[in-house]
């Protein structure tokens, strides 16, 4: 099932299938290793639409809510 990053639950794994944005956003995500096919784990989300933290490889990345909503993830139960 494909959902955006904000809808994933804490601790769930998934694979990025699409980033809905222009070249700028894609490039920005890419610098921290987030791109189509990247395996991620959702670590946390802050209250009231705060930033989402995910694990990518050996690092964690915090992503603002607005941006996180544009990252589509195929998530595994």
């Amino acid at each position: 099932m494909t959902i955006d990053l904000t809808r994933m639950r804490q601790g769930e794994r998934g694979k990025v299938v699409d980033i809905q944005g222009g070249w700028g956003l894609l490039r920005k995500m890419e610098t921290l290793g987030i791109k189509q096919g990247t395996e991620i784990v959702k670590v946390s989300s802050q209250l009231m639409r705060g930033p989402i933290t995910i694990r990518v490889g050996n690092t964690q990345v915090a992503i603002g809510f607005g941006m996180a909503r544009r990252i589509m993830v195929e998530h595994k139960k």
Partner: protein, 573 residues
């Protein structure tokens, strides 16, 4: 002279490698964006002296912030003058992502050598990298290092001249596919269990556990700073001044005839025949007591605690937790780091705004800090002065400043055009601070304070004495007195303090002592002194960072809000 550029992603340890290579100490911490300005040093390769440049971290060669622009500019200059070598420092625990910059560098026709840093951590993480294979693929030398402990640095130096310009050819749109292929060939990852630090990392970024942890951390940090600061003052510095220095100065005083111009400049006024270190205002009495016995202990305590948290990797996590709050004032969570640095000294705080992406954020952040974030020297003096009246009195001063920070932030966020971007940041793993590095950093900061602050403080005390004896302060007090009296409710003598505040705020607060102010007046004077204008050093940096126009705008906000808040306090209290 040939140049060696240390380049790599943020937080891969460039500054640590720099210190190792050149012996020049620079601040390094465990969060992306510590280095915002390039530092230069020198080293020898054989008989040749070369210049080493610690370049701010960058994820790619298409800059998105001022700090990244600086990085790309340095690289371009070096390519143009054809005398540069790039040491591409790579985080071995995140090879895939880091190779993106490596491949971009290899396209630029400049000699490159790769430093595979955090080599020890890759082992703990179960990542094994085939260095020989990586060298073969990239066709440049690859040297594994652990810069913090110094492992591998010698080999890096020995092999520096192996750096060569290579073109690693691949179609741009196939970049990640290409990197993926490299990774597949050189890297193996073993499964392993989560460590305690990793579980702590997760807990401190989940709101349910993270918010209580953050509150606890802030509380402990605060208590620790007070405990160490007060302890050093009460048990070390005050006794030294009272028991050892005071008798010496009394001797000098009687040699000088207990009065006269020279006496007043060196020793200052005597109270009932005795020196009062807070009030006498001579260069050798108050001029030394304020920096060493009142301010230095807090500078030491503050930077000890801050340095620990910087190196542990906690600060970006605090930024993520505070993100929502920071957005209310037009910044994102990481803005909290420049504010924390500003609590130490506004100068590095202002420089740290360079990692922000937009002019708007830089303006808001610099203005908010200059108005409502007093530096530790100022805080120490306020604690010394107002603290006598208890914690409530201190709450009044710092509570007011916090409120001002929020209100002015909300207003700027509303009124300034544009929007502030969302947070997007790498959260580094927790690392146990390395004692040697921590001690070195603390010493650098304390030394920095002694070197920068003490001449200014002595100068401040000297100027005050000269201005007093020439009658200039009396004249200005009469001129500005009515405004200060009627709006702020302060005696006209406070003008002198406001004047010195342009130079050094701590000395300015010290100058309030002889005025015999009431608690209400002390609170107002402390708040107004913190807000009305930055000290000379901060002002100079702000003009450079914001430009003259924006600095003028910022100054108008400062002066206007200081008078308004001071006037309000005068009415309410």
């Amino acid at each position: 002279m040939r140049k060696v550029l240390l380049m790599g992603n943020p937080n891969v340890g460039k500054s640590v490698v720099f210190s190792r290579l050149t012996g020049v100490n620079v601040i390094s911490s465990n969060y992306p964006g510590t280095t915002v300005e390039f530092s230069k040093g020198y080293m020898r390769i054989g008989n040749e002296k070369v210049e080493v440049i610690d370049v701010p971290g960058t994820y790619s060669l298409e800059p998105t912030s001022k700090a990244e622009q600086i990085a790309v500019k340095i690289l371009q200059d070096s390519i143009a003058s054809q005398n540069g070598i790039v040491v591409n420092i790579v985080d071995g625990t995140n090879l895939e992502r880091n190779l993106n910059l490596t491949l971009q560098l290899l396209k630029r026709n400049i000699p490159v050598i790769v430093d595979l840093n955090f080599w020890d951590e890759t082992k703990h993480l179960g990542v094994s990298i085939n260095v020989g294979e990586l060298e073969k693929i990239l066709n440049v030398s690859v040297v594994p290092t652990c810069a913090v402990s110094g492992e591998g640095i010698k080999e890096l130096v020995d092999r520096l001249l192996e750096a060569k310009a290579m073109t690693y050819d691949y179609p741009e749109e196939e970049k990640w596919h290409e990197i993926g292929k490299i990774i597949e060939r050189v890297q193996k990852v073993r499964h392993r269990h989560h460590t305690f630090l990793e579980r702590l990392a997760d807990a401190s970024i989940r709101p349910l556990t993270g918010i209580p942890i953050a509150l606890g951390v802030v509380y402990i940090a605060f208590k620790l700073i007070r405990f160490i600061g007060e302890g050093l003052i009460g048990y070390v510095f005050e006794p030294i001044f009272e028991k050892l220095w005071a008798p010496l100065m009394m001797n000098l005083s009687s040699i000088l005839g207990s009065g006269g111009f020279i006496h007043d400049i060196l020793i200052g006024k005597l109270f009932a025949g005795k020196i009062e270190f807070f009030e006498s205002f001579g260069i050798l009495t108050t001029g030394l007591f304020v920096p060493f016995a009142a301010v230095l202990p807090y500078v030491f305590a503050f930077y000890l605690v801050l340095s620990f948290f910087e190196d542990s990797g906690y600060l970006p996590r605090l930024g993520v937790l505070a993100d929502k709050m920071m957005h209310q004032v037009g910044l994102h969570g990481l803005g909290i780091i420049s504010m924390l640095l500003g609590l130490g000294c506004n100068v590095p705080g202002a420089l740290a705004t360079r990692v922000m992406e937009t002019e708007r954020e830089r303006f808001i952040s610099a203005t908010l800090m200059a108005i409502a974030v007093p530096c530790i020297a100022q805080i120490a003096m306020i604690v010394g002065l107002v603290g006598k009246y208890g914690a409530k009195a201190l709450m009044l001063v710092f509570g007011t400043l916090f409120l001002v920070w929020i209100v002015i932030g909300l207003l700027m966020n509303r009124l300034l055009k544009g929007e502030s971007p969302e947070i997007f940041v790498e959260i580094p793993p927790y690392r146990i601070p390395y004692f040697g590095a921590l001690a070195k950093k603390l010493w650098m900061r304390v030394k920095g304070f002694l070197k920068e602050a003490i001449p200014f403080m002595l100068l401040g005390v000297f100027i005050v004495n000269i201005l007093y004896s020439l009658g200039i302060i009396d004249f200005l007090s009469k001129l500005a007195g009515p405004v200060i009296k009627n709006i702020l409710g302060l005696p006209s003598g406070a003008v002198a303090s406001l004047l010195v505040g342009f130079l050094r705020k701590d000395v300015a607060i010290g100058m309030l002592v002889p005025l015999g102010l009431t608690l209400k007046q002390l609170v107002i004077a402390s708040v107004v002194l913190a807000m009305y204008f930055p000290c000379a050093a901060t002002f100079a940096v702000l003009v450079k960072e914001l430009g003259v126009r924006d600095m003028a705008k910022s100054a108008v906000i400062m002066i206007f809000s200081a008078i308004l808040v001071g006037g309000l306090l005068n009415l309410i209290l």
